[in-house]
Symmetry: none
Subunit: 301 residues, 2 copies
Amino acid sequence: MILDLIIIGAGPAGITASVYAARKKMNFLVLTKDIGGQAIWSSDVENYPGYQFITGPDLMTKFQEHMEKYGIQVREKEEVIELEKKDNIVYIKTTKETYEAKTAIIAAGKKVKEIGVPGEKEYKNKGVAYCVTCDGPLFAEKDVAVVGGGNSALDAAIQMMNIANKVYLINMTDKFTGDPIMQEKIKSNPKVKILHNTRVESIAGDKFVKGISVDIQGKKDILNVKGVFIEIGLMPNSWFVKGLDKNEKGEIKVNCANETNVLGVFAAGDVTSVPEKQIVIAAGDGAKAALGAFRYLARLK
Amino acid sequence: MILDLIIIGAGPAGITASVYAARKKMNFLVLTKDIGGQAIWSSDVENYPGYQFITGPDLMTKFQEHMEKYGIQVREKEEVIELEKKDNIVYIKTTKETYEAKTAIIAAGKKVKEIGVPGEKEYKNKGVAYCVTCDGPLFAEKDVAVVGGGNSALDAAIQMMNIANKVYLINMTDKFTGDPIMQEKIKSNPKVKILHNTRVESIAGDKFVKGISVDIQGKKDILNVKGVFIEIGLMPNSWFVKGLDKNEKGEIKVNCANETNVLGVFAAGDVTSVPEKQIVIAAGDGAKAALGAFRYLARLK
């Protein structure tokens, strides 16, 4: 059977797309490794409008219940290993079988790049964080470290210098790769201490992070920070797509209507080239993708 | 004082933008005629992810409380009558004063469209209505007409079939554009009489509406209704902007980053050229606009 639509991923973008597709009575299913995507790693979500404060897992449970209300077919733990459109059909191969659909929405998200040091996994969401926009306000008036040297690290440092007591900006190399104008802002702010040629060696604490061991140009030191923002980038889960244009980060390129370069194949959320990685933005774009798929099918008749 | 940002409107887009701007510690205020925008006229919202079912007014109260949590300055009942950028400053004139800001987000939404037939203005609020949620209960056990064929007309018909004695659903074209799930609800209800290819020619009455003249597929008829709900769509509140590109509907043209053709001036939600008018899409785009304004200010120094 050829389905109207297959949605890959069940984070904020994929779930919202599924709710919209269900309300349009499309014949579709959702294939996903897990439910909730990156959002479940946010300890505190304070910027999803309608919920002043909710944890990422709680919000994603609400999204999931919303999807379940419509009796949507979700095949969990089914990882997609290939997607390709041939002869007007989108073929989607998973670890279990191959599906056929007229349209697809790729909402497979991103995964964070870890620095891979002792304590990182242990203190994730207990001081170790990967999203300043989400978790920054938790560290008001505290000392924090930001790890990285690109735009996302500089942006994180700029955000945190307005919130934290002190910000150590830890860059592995001898200079930043991020925008000079952002560098200037950081350099002129007395709250930020820039550490070039510096590596984090381990993260320590008890219940929460208490400090990090660093190697600063060959000299060992300990920084007593309560928070560590790892901002060395994210990797889009886009390796399985064939024939879709991606940007230099590996993100699937979309236009304003969340269309990819392949007709009938849409993408939404963190896997795309849309610069902001936010729950409400992923949700809004998931809705756009589903409505776009619906319009595309209407034109096919 | 020149503000970082002024947000015009406090519907889903404007409120979400304000929450994001507050979290970025921008110096800004919100100017708006009212709170909640068009969303408060939806009786049933079932597609805002995270809330399986909520009324429009209840959801907008939650949005408003979210905004109030951040102590955001909101000047209500202050209508903007002109917006123009000159010499790197956005000047925003209201009925009360003129404000200056480095950036602006226009999230002024839409307002209801009239059908423009004799009797419409005369009987406004005397049987002619534009909001079922507000005025529906006035027509309990009476015969009414709903004019339109999109989601708002279908929603109005669904609400009225639970209240009125009989509902004529008058659609100008040969099929509805609203969601199939709503169409089914209407088709299975014996109280609703669907009239496709039908136009209202005039509205008549004495003190209140007594009937409407219609043209049903070329045949003239009179429907003895006491109420007429006009649900044919909305007009963007964009008349006050100077120098911004608009499309043929009067909607402000935006790119994928919610930027207008004037640098530093953003737009989001129903006032824009984004085709879908949905709460979650307006919210997502409001977030994009606020983050865009933040990045623009960062580049300005």
